[in-house]
Symmetry: C2
Subunit: 110 residues, 2 copies
Amino acid sequence: MHVQQAAIDRVFHALGDPTRRAIVEKLSEGPITVSRLAKPLDMTLAAVVQHLQILEKSGLVRTEKVGRVRTCRIEPKGLSVAERWIDERRSLWEKRLDRLGQLLAEPDVN
Amino acid sequence: MHVQQAAIDRVFHALGDPTRRAIVEKLSEGPITVSRLAKPLDMTLAAVVQHLQILEKSGLVRTEKVGRVRTCRIEPKGLSVAERWIDERRSLWEKRLDRLGQLLAEPDVN
């Protein structure tokens, strides 16, 4: 349970930053090298690498170094963690609405 | 497009904070007054109200004041914004995988 909570914290912390969401958006089009990823971003390569490390730890992105080139790709595991959390919230909320609907549909016993 | 981007920014910024996610988790069980919501949280009422304002602006939470009591409830619109963003990333990524699969399945023409 606590492990799961930590994973949720890491994913939503990672997605809470607009640059990191822009990186995930770019990577959903396909794998890309770190230097090509960094080019359109208005920041140092070191800052991009730092964002990538947070994304990697959250399970949203995977990077791999071949020779001198590091390539990043999306890792759907992290997206699933966020999706599941949202689904659970929505389903709890909808169940409650259903129960309310049932209560309102019951004949008045008073 | 820019309006949509601003909505995505607000929702993920709101969900990026663990206290605000805890508030959304609590509210998915049902509406609750601000004072009852604040009780188990280890912070001042003013801090809770500040978090609620961010959640309200993001469309994740709605609050309503009746007399002297303010009640908060979940607003599924905000959850949908986050869900859609994640779905789009996943679907782009899966389409790319499909195209790769098709390319690999094609007979070698060289």
